[in-house]
Symmetry: C2
Subunit: 334 residues, 2 copies
C-alpha cells in the first residue's frame, strides 16, 4: 500500500530548516505518512543527520530558492520558479503528494497553492480557516485573512467549506454556522454584515444560527464562524495579542515574590496544561480551503511540534476527502 504522501516546505518559517525537518520526520513516524522534504538538499541533509529518523518515510525534493517573508509573493514567484514553496505545491499538482504543509509567508503559500493547484469550481475565493480553542469545542474561523474585501456570496461559500471541514475533521454532524458580527440581533452590523446575514439565512446546506460576537469565538456554541478576511484577521490577532500579554503578566506576577514562585513551581503542570489548551501549535495551523488539494499553512514561528500537528491535519484532510466533499457541495449548489 502506498502511504499518504505530504510535501513539506522545509525552508519556510522562522526556525527553518531545523524545526521543520524535525517536525516533518516526527510527523511522518507518528502519523504513518511519507513526507517529501522540499528545499536545499545540503541544508536538509544536515538536519536529517541531527534528527532521529527511525522508521520515518521521507524523500528529499530539491528546490534551491526561497521566497522571503518581506518579499511580494507574486513577484517572488515569477522570478523564482524553483522556490521551495512553489516546488512544494507542484508536488501536489503533479500527483507526487496528496497534500502540502508550509510555514513562513502566508501570502506566498496561498499564492503558490492557488497557482499550482487551482480553485475548486464554484468557489470564488479560497479562504483561510483557523481552528480556535473554545471553552467547550473547537471553533473554525473562516476567513482569517485571505480576502480583505468580500462579497456576501463568498461568505456562503466559506460557510459550506467550513461545514465540510468540521463534519470531517472534528466529526460534528451538523455544525452551527455563525456570522461574526457586533451583536446577536439580526438588525446589528454594518452594511456588509447585514447583506451577508440576509444571504446566509437562505443558504441551503448549512445550519445558520445567526450572528455571533467576538466573545463567542472562544465562549460560544458556534462551530463555524464566517466573516471577511479583514475582520477575521483582526479578531485572530487581537486574541493572540491579549493571550501573550496575559501570559507575560502572569509570569511577572509569579516571579515577583518568593512564595508566589514556590506556588507556581508546585502548580507548574497546571500552567502547562492551561497553556496547551490555547496553543495554536496544537491545532495544526490554518487550512487554505477552496483549492484543489489539501494545503495546511502553519504559523511563521512554527516549532517542530506545530509542524507535526500540521502533518496530522493534512493527513486527516486527505483521508477524509475534504477537497472532494467541498466540490460536491458546490455541485449541489449549481
Amino acid at each position: 500500500v502506498t502511504p499518504v504522501t505530504i510535501a513539506v516546505d522545509a525552508m519556510g518559517g522562522d526556525y527553518a530548516p531545523h524545526e521543520i525537518v524535525k517536525g516533518a520526520i516526527d510527523g511522518a513516524k507518528r502519523h504513518d505518512v511519507k513526507v517529501l522534504l522540499v528545499g536545499h538538499p545540503d541544508a536538509i541533509e544536515a538536519e536529517l543527520k541531527k534528527a532521529c529518523i527511525g522508521h520515518a518515510q521521507y524523500e528529499v525534493v530539491p528546490a534551491l530558492e526561497t521566497i522571503d517573508m518581506g518579499e511580494s509573493p507574486i513577484k517572488g514567484m515569477r522570478r523564482k520558479k524553483d522556490a521551495s514553496i512553489v516546488v512544494t505545491a507542484r508536488c501536489v499538482s503533479e500527483g507526487r503528494a496528496q497534500g502540502m504543509v508550509a510555514a513562513g509567508s502566508t501570502g506566498a503559500a496561498m499564492t503558490a497553492a492557488l497557482f499550482q493547484l487551482g480553485r475548486i469550481e464554484g468557489i470564488d475565493r479560497p479562504a483561510i480557516a483557523v481552528t480556535l480553542p473554545n471553552l467547550t469545542r473547537p471553533t473554525l474561523l473562516i476567513d482569517a485573512g485571505a480576502n480583505v474585501d468580500c462579497e456576501p456570496e463568498w461568505l456562503a461559500q466559506f460557510a459550506h467549506m467550513g461545514t465540510v471541514f468540521m463534519q470531517n475533521i472534528y466529526d460534528v454532524s451538523q455544525p452551527n454556522v455563525g456570522l461574526l458580527n457586533i451583536g446577536s440581533e439580526e438588525s446589528k452590523g454594518n452594511a456588509f454584515s447585514l447583506a451577508a446575514h440576509a444571504l446566509l439565512k437562505q443558504t441551503q446546506g448549512i445550519r445558520f444560527m445567526g450572528n455571533v460576537e467576538g466573545r463567542d469565538l472562544f465562549l460560544g456554541d458556534v462551530d463555524v464562524a464566517v466573516c471577511d478576511g479583514f475582520t477575521g484577521n483582526v479578531a485572530l490577532k487581537s486574541a493572540e495579542g491579549i493571550a501573550i500579554m496575559m501570559n507575560r503578566f502572569l509570569k511577572s506576577a509569579m516571579t515577583a515574590k518568593p512564595h508566589r514562585a514556590l506556588g507556581a513551581m508546585l502548580a507548574k503542570s497546571g500552567f502547562a496544561e492551561a497553556k496547551r489548551r490555547v496553543d495554536p501549535a496544537e491545532f495544526g495551523g490554518a487550512l487554505l480551503l477552496g483549492v484543489q488539494g489539501v494545503c495546511v499553512i502553519a504559523h511563521g514561528g512554527s516549532s517542530g511540534n506545530a509542524i507535526q500537528n500540521a502533518i496530522r491535519v493534512a493527513k486527516e484532510g486527505i483521508q477524509k476527502n475534504v477537497v472532494e466533499k467541498i466540490k460536491a457541495t458546490q455541485k449541489v449548489m449549481v
Copy 2:
C-alpha cells in the same frame, strides 16, 4: 468651592441599583466629587441605607422609568421622557452636573448623550473610546462600536479626539496614533483602511505611526488605535472572550490536582495581581468622545469598583477640560 458634580444613572447595569449606588458613593468619597444618583428614589434610598455613606456628597434625582437592555434606545427614549438615562444626561445639559456615568445599554447611553448634550462642532460622529491594557502602556481603542460604517474623515476626527484624551488623561505628550489593520505595510488592508491610511498620513495635529495589527493593541507601542466601530468592537470582544476562556482554563487546571491547588493558593496574590492588570473595571469604562460633555459608559456588568473608577475617569475628563480641548482641535482644523 463647589465640587465637581457627576450624574450617575443608578438604574442601569446588570447589578443596578445596588452596585451602582455603592460604587457611586465610594467614588464620591475617594475622588472628592458630588454625585447625583438618578433613578427611582425608593430603590436608591434602600441602597443608601445599606451603603456606608460617611462624607459622601450626593443627591437623589428622581427618574421613574428605565430603558431595558433589549429595548430599542431611540424608541425607548421617545416613549419614556423620564427614563433614568435621559434624566442623567439632562443633568449635564442643564448644568446640574459636569459629567455623567452610565452602565447598562451602550446604545441607550449613546443616544441619550447625543440627544441631550449634542455633538461638538466639527465632529461628524461621536465615538466610543476604550482604554485597553498593554504590556507597556494603556492603549486607547477608538471607535469601539458606535459607528459601524465609517468615512475615512471620521477616523481622522477619532485620531484627534484620542490624541487629546491620551495627552490629558494619561499625560502622553505626543501619542502615537495607529490605524488598526491587518499588516504593518502601507499596502495592506481593505478598501476602507487603504483610504483611511492615505488620509491619516496627511492629517495635521496627530503623530501617525502607520498601520498596527490586532496584536499591537496589547503588545505594541501604539497609544491611540483608530478604526471603524465594527472592527473595533470585534477586536475588543474577541480579546474579552479569549481572556475569559484562558482564566477558566487556568482555574480548572489549578483545581484538577491537589498539589496544583496548593501551589495556586500560595501564589494567590500573584493571580490577583495579573488579573487586575487586565481587568476592564480598573480602567473606568469607555468614554463617548465627541459630545458636549463628559460621558463615561461603564460595562453592563459593572461592579461597584467599576463605577468608582468610572467616576474617577469622569472627574479627570472634567478637570482636564477634555471636551473644550477637543473643540479647540476642531477649530484649528476648520
